[in-house]
């Protein structure tokens, strides 16, 4: 079947890769410099919190992109993608133990790749089952497989370590570059390196005949079939490769945290992948990276100051589904025709008119959520409620009235401004169209 793939291959537009690759190398340089922005020169140490967060972003970027190979590029909605991330982690932690014990003469830098390959083997088995179906049946099979592995991970001790998970030590003294990986920043650079190898590989895959056929099978699988391709086979290969990259991400997480628990195969992580990819945007290649960065930021940043970050993610997600189904990347892409016409400037005032009531509503909403959750959860944990820098007494009526008022009135204001903005946007777009026609 791979011969049919090659025989019908269309010329891939390789020249179009130059722009994205240049941009990726720019981001690469930025990522290398990033930890030094949070370097504490008086103590001579990196900020541990920032390093962990950036490392997490790197892994999640790979994970989200590998999920988008299914969701965005092949139109397959999976609810069990964490299986490959988690199994990659479990494989890597066992390999790490073996390498540390001396029975496996492999440098640490290569381990994520081996873990990814093992994960790909699993993806080949599961993918053979799942990719025979598409649409809802595919979603249900992947959910079944996800729940199956998640339940098995708690149940079996020999490989998964039961509820305690499996832990190991990453300082195995076997490195390509003579590094010990005793410091977080060394691990961070390992993650950056693997992230960029994976991102470049996945970017390349989108331009290959396989990537193009995945798009074709997503858009119209019957027509792809008439052209002589086997959509099942295309789905299968795409699924297996996506398992490879998810496994690499999982392997990196095993090296970073030196422990893998059943959380890493859980449905919650699969859901997280979906949230990241959808919020970031499925159509643009960089969308999932954007989503991964944003969600990780919310996860580790917001969860420090509030224990209801899931509400915010949920509301953000529902808002995206309702108002911006193309995600953040789609929102940015909407502006490109205006930018080309040099008409971004007239949008500044309308944006301010949107952002101000938006902020009022947001503050009101955050206030309502925090007050509510403080009464039931925060108070039980013996915490004190501090909102926007001010200590607040949640038992009096005043803060409740203020935040509810801000939320309701701000929402009303936002709704009115939103309608006005919508008509303005439509008018600007309509204004742009005849110009385009005249130019042609």
């Amino acid at each position: 079947m791979s011969t049919t793939l090659r025989a019908g291959a269309m010329p891939a537009p390789r020249s179009s890769l130059v722009g994205p690759i240049f941009r990726i190398f720019l981001i690469f340089a930025l990522c290398m410099a990033l930890p030094w922005l949070f370097y504490n020169y008086t103590t001579g140490r990196h900020s541990g919190f920032m390093l962990t967060m950036f490392s997490q972003m790197g892994m999640m970027a790979i994970f989200a992109l590998s999920y988008n190979m299914l969701m965005g590029q092949a139109g397959l909605l999976s609810f069990g993608h964490a299986v490959f991330f988690g199994l990659g982690g479990y494989f890597c932690i066992h390999l790490l133990t073996a390498a540390g014990g001396g029975s496996l003469p492999v440098p640490l830098e290569i381990l994520p790749l081996i873990a990814g390959l093992c994960s790909m083997l699993v993806a080949i088995v599961f993918g053979y089952m799942a990719t025979r179906q598409r649409a809802t049946a595919f979603a249900m099979i992947t959910m079944g497989i996800g729940e199956l592995v998640a339940t098995a991970a708690v149940m079996f001790h020999a490989f998964f370590g039961g509820e305690g998970g499996v832990s190991s030590d990453r300082m195995i003294d076997r490195s390509l570059f003579g590094l010990t990986y005793s410091q977080g920043v060394q691990v961070y650079y390992l993650i950056v390196a693997w992230s960029f190898i994976s991102i470049l590989a996945m970017l390349y895959l989108t331009t290959t005949p396989l990537g193009r056929m995945a798009n074709a099978c997503r858009d119209n699988y019957e027509r792809a079939q008439f052209m002589g391709y086997d959509p099942k086979f295309v789905r299968f290969i795409q699924f297996a490769l996506s398992g490879l990259f998810a496994g690499i991400a999982g392997g990196l997480s095993a090296i970073t945290y030196e422990i893998v628990t059943f959380d890493s195969v859980s449905g919650a992580l699969s859901a997280n992948a979906l949230l990241m990819v959808f919020i970031g945007g499925t159509n643009a290649f960089g969308g999932p990276i954007l989503g991964a960065v944003l969600i990780t930021l919310m996860q580790s940043g917001v969860s420090l100051i509030s224990n209801s970050w899931l509400v915010y993610v949920g509301v953000l997600f529902i808002g995206m589904v309702t108002f911006a189904p193309a995600g953040l990347a789609g929102l940015i892409a909407m502006h490109s025709p205006l930018q080309q016409a040099g008409r971004l400037k007239p949008l500044i005032v309308p944006y301010i008119r949107i952002v101000v009531p938006g902020l009022v509503t947001l503050i009101g909403f955050v206030g309502v959520v925090e007050l509510l959750s403080f009464k039931t959860i925060g108070a039980a944990q013996g915490k004190k409620l501090v909102l926007f820098g001010n200590p607040i007494d949640a038992t009096t009526a005043q803060p409740w009235l203020i935040v509810t008022g801000m939320f309701l009135l701000g929402g009303l204001w936002l709704w009115r401004e939103g309608r006005w903005f919508h008509t303005l946007w439509e008018a600007m777009m309509a204004d742009l169209k005849p110009k385009k026609g005249a130019a042609q």
Binding site: Q133, T136, M143, A158, F159, G314, F317, I318, V321, S373
Partner: protein, 315 residues
């Protein structure tokens, strides 16, 4: 023998509870093509509502008020949520309900806290109904069976004997045709969505004190209900019923069987150790493997019969 009869009864009670949830979900799924991820969350809401109502007025009013509240929640979701995203396709609708799961769960935690609710079986029903082989069968389980059988009868009568039932049945298999015949399909959609959520709410009322009313109950129930719906087959309430009872039986029977696959192999002369993963899979007792079985069954049925047990069209 007594184990078999007690497990049969318990399996029936659990299966009927599952059916009450799954019947609403399968109606919504077959008709609107929306896989309502938030269905189990509405079930959880039903249990919490019932707890609140029964605290102030009593259990019997809660049996009516809580499902009505859940139906109202369902109608609100359909009218203000799903209809707005409908033009973006089924995936958008599915993702919308998926986002609702997080919001409902966290909202429940914010309003009622993380701890389980003291939602108990009403005192009037808290006595043993009869005794088989020394084991008591609580009256409340009998009451659950009674309520779910009543609901089964009501659904059947409504679908088979009324005009709205006729339209719903038509819309199950040929939604476009029904719409072409001039029926108000969006209204039917809202009715079915609200009705399904109401059923889930009813299941929450009687299931909340049978199981435990806590904020993680939706997460535990959600995947199982999906398994039932997919296993039973799209557009078939009969298949859904069989699948519910089957899953109920599997879950209760697996708990009482202490043998493993390894025990079956032993007489043939194959001895296994639980040191390796494969050995562990074969030597783990059935009772612990129980939670895995529904998912295994679902994966297998989708592989070999994607339309489910009695489904009329592909999932």
């Amino acid at each position: 023998m007594e184990i078999v009869i007690v497990s049969l009864l318990n399996g029936l009670v659990y299966g009927m509870l599952l059916f009450m949830l799954a019947s609403g979900l399968t109606l919504i799924f077959s008709m609107m093509g929306v896989l309502n991820f938030a269905h189990a969350s509405v079930w959880m809401l039903g249990a919490y509502f019932a707890y609140e109502v029964s605290r102030f007025i009593g259990f019997l009013p809660a049996l009516i008020i809580a499902p009505l509240l859940c139906a109202a929640v369902g109608a609100a979701i359909e009218v203000w949520g799903l209809r707005r995203v409908h033009h973006n396709g089924h995936v958008a609708e599915l993702l919308f309900t998926f986002g609702l799961v997080f919001i409902i769960q966290r909202s429940v935690q914010m309003i009622w806290g993380m701890l389980p609710m003291p939602y108990r079986v009403p005192a009037a029903l808290d006595f043993p109904l009869f005794t088989i082989y020394g084991a008591n069968f609580p009256a409340y389980r009998g009451f659950m069976l009674f309520i779910s059988a009543l609901m089964l009868l009501a659904i059947w009568l409504m679908l088979k004997k009324t005009r709205i039932g006729l339209i719903i049945q038509g819309a199950l298999t040929h939604p476009n045709m029904v719409s072409s015949l001039g029926h108000n399909v969006p209204l039917v959609f809202t009715t079915v969505f609200a009705g399904g959520c109401g059923l889930a709410g009813l299941a929450g009322v009687i299931g909340g004190n049978y199981l435990v009313t806590e904020s993680s109950m939706a997460d535990a129930m959600g995947p199982i209900v999906f398994v039932v719906v997919v296993f039973g087959g799209l557009g078939s309430l009969g298949g859904c019923f069989i699948a519910s009872i089957l899953m109920g039986m599997i879950q209760t029977f697996a708990v009482v069987i202490d043998a493993s696959i390894g025990d079956v192999l032993k007489p043939i002369g194959i001895a296994l150790s639980s040191e390796t993963l494969l050995g562990e899979i074969l030597t783990v007792p059935m009772a612990r493997i129980g939670p895995l079985l529904p998912y295994l069954l679902m994966v297998f049925i989708l592989l070999f019969r994607p339309r489910g047990l009695m489904g009329t069209r592909d999932t």
